[in-house]
């Protein structure tokens, strides 16, 4: 299964267009929405993961989005957690919407699931030890 994580930014004119529907219908792509900020009449931001058995289908879908005027960028930013400096306080888990950062309920140590992370960056300033950062 091929997968790609991308960040879509689209102008207000496109906000009401059923773009994700077309990706499913015309390109047979499975879409996992990781983060969405869409307000009518404002520009929108959508972080999605596209998957299909063929990478070509994914690329065709991305070309379609670009033709519609959507700005497509790979989700290349990553959250870096310096585990050996961590005191396992849990302050970062208070702001993690995606459940990527969570406390193990037995050991009460922090666990970071990169696949769930949508790189919203809320955890970066929430960490009292300044050991969570964003890498490009």
């Amino acid at each position: 299964m091929a997968k790609k994580r991308i960040v879509l930014t689209f102008p207000p004119s496109l906000v009401e267009k059923p773009l994700t529907y077309r990706l499913v219908k015309d390109f047979d792509l499975a879409i996992n929405i990781l983060h969405a900020r869409i307000v009518p009449r404002e520009s929108g931001r959508l972080v999605i993961e596209l998957s299909n058995s063929s990478e070509e289908n994914i690329d065709a879908g991305i070309r379609y989005l670009e033709e519609q005027g959507v700005n497509v960028e790979p989700l290349s930013k990553e959250i870096r957690w310096d585990e050996k400096e961590c005191i396992n306080c849990g302050a970062c888990t208070a702001v993690c919407h995606s459940d990527a950062l969570r406390m193990n309920p037995e050991t009460w140590k922090l666990e970071f699931d990169k696949d769930k992370c949508i790189v919203c960056e809320m955890c970066v300033p929430a960490c009292p030890l300044r050991i969570i950062s964003v890498t490009f």
Binding site: I87, C89, A91, T93, A94, P105, M122
Partner: protein
């Protein structure tokens, strides 16, 4: 009268390597299985611990005298001001003091952590000069090994229970209880719960002035009641205070401390604080002490306080137990609110284990308090008053 033992008997057992020590978490299932009386006979000491942000932390430093000598009137350590309105080369560096150059990113807590780590710290001082102290300024580097003395003196640590923080307002707020999301988007709490020292000795029978403790990886002592020590707050049917109550002033040698157990912290848009590791042994003097140390998270409640209201008296949403908080979510007004800790239970467990090992290996002895902490006291508020509101003759 049931079974009882003395401090001297416990210390004799520590000396001969026969002492039985468990942590405050390990004792819970043992009491359930064997009962209070059997455990009182079997166990000598229970270790408790906490590792949370404690703003009221700082260190007294004596730098030693330079040649020619200086009577310091202003002192900076890595650009962080320290208080020196005491003798010539004495100073107090408070954990929350901010750097004059780096602001929120570096503060007194970082200076303390750097000193503990053995890093060189830049000392700058100015003076007006006197006949006996002619020097008017100095700039040099110090480490914990080059200076005369360095000891932590923390006016308020180890709070006995604390509030749970939420935010009902429409905007995100940044507090000493972490980042609080709008409209009850999250709840943060800050206590080691069933492992926390003062929750295992709710009426301060064994924790008092002179009690020997684990502080930041070294052996330290309870010096006094902590500031805002407030034992008279309401208590539940088990005697556990519902919310912040007793506190401790702690003292210990900075030079012996270990960065694994004391760390500088930055609370975004709030300021600098310090995570302090505190471990306190509870001697099992009798069956009553067994009942106290077998306290469970479900027996301990904390009030849910709305930090979205920037006033001294904040509205509350009832109380919640630490068992519920540890489940990851609580329900407030019918809404599911995710919870997050701020105090590290993993570190508290490491401290309780370390203290257990010290006692078992004969490196740490229990100390009977020389005086108990006040049992009744409430915190006084600060009101804005005019001088003529007071009687004339005082």
């Amino acid at each position: 009268m049931g079974f009882s033992r003395t401090y001297e008997e416990i210390n004799e057992k520590i000396k001969t390597g026969r002492v039985v020590v468990l942590t405050a978490e390990e004792i819970i299932p043992m009491v359930e299985e064997k009962g209070v009386e059997a455990v009182a006979r079997e166990v000598d000491v229970v270790t408790t611990a906490t590792f949370g942000p404690m703003c009221s932390t700082g260190a007294f430093l004596n730098f030693g005298h330079s040649d020619p000598p200086i009577k310091m009137t202003k002192v900076w350590l890595n650009d962080v001001p320290a208080y020196t309105g005491i003798a010539a080369v004495d100073a107090y560096i408070g954990a929350t003091e901010l750097s004059e150059s780096a602001g929120f990113e570096y503060g007194g807590a970082h200076v303390i952590e750097d000193l503990i780590s053995g890093k060189p710290v830049k000392l700058r001082a100015t003076a007006y000069g006197t006949d006996c102290y002619p020097r008017r300024e100095i700039e040099t580097y110090i480490t914990k090994d080059t200076i005369n003395q360095a000891y932590l003196f923390n006016p308020r640590n180890a709070y006995q229970n604390y509030s749970v923080a939420v935010n009902s307002s429409d905007r995100i707020i940044y507090t000493y209880m972490g980042t609080l999301l709008p409209k009850l988007g999250n709840a943060t709490y800050c206590s080691a719960g069933q492992l926390s020292p003062l929750l295992n000795d709710p009426y301060y029978r064994t924790i008092g002035i002179g009690t020997r403790i684990f502080l930041g990886g070294a052996q330290g002592y309870v010096a006094w009641e902590g500031t805002q020590h407030s034992p008279s707050v309401s208590r539940n049917e088990k005697g556990i205070p519902v919310g912040g109550a007793g506190t401790l002033a702690l003292i210990g040698d900075l030079k012996q401390m270990d960065r694994r157990f004391i760390r500088a912290a930055i609370f975004h848009k709030y300021g600098v604080s310090m995570y302090v590791g505190v471990g306190i042994p509870i001697p099992i003097l009798d069956e009553e002490m067994v009942r106290f140390v077998s306290v469970k998270d479900e027996d301990i409640q904390a009030p849910i306080v709305d930090y979205g209201v920037g006033r001294r008296s904040k509205p509350t949403y009832g109380t919640v137990s630490y068992k519920e908080l540890r489940s990851g979510k609580i329900i407030i007004d019918g809404k599911v609110v995710p919870t997050a800790p701020l105090s590290s239970l993993a570190k508290a467990r490491e401290i309780a284990e370390t203290l257990k090992t010290w006692i078992r290996e004969g490196k740490f002895f229990v100390q009977q308090p020389v005086q108990p902490l006040p049992a009744e006291q409430l915190t006084k508020p600060l009101e804005i008053r005019e001088k003529d509101e007071f009687p004339i003759n005082i």
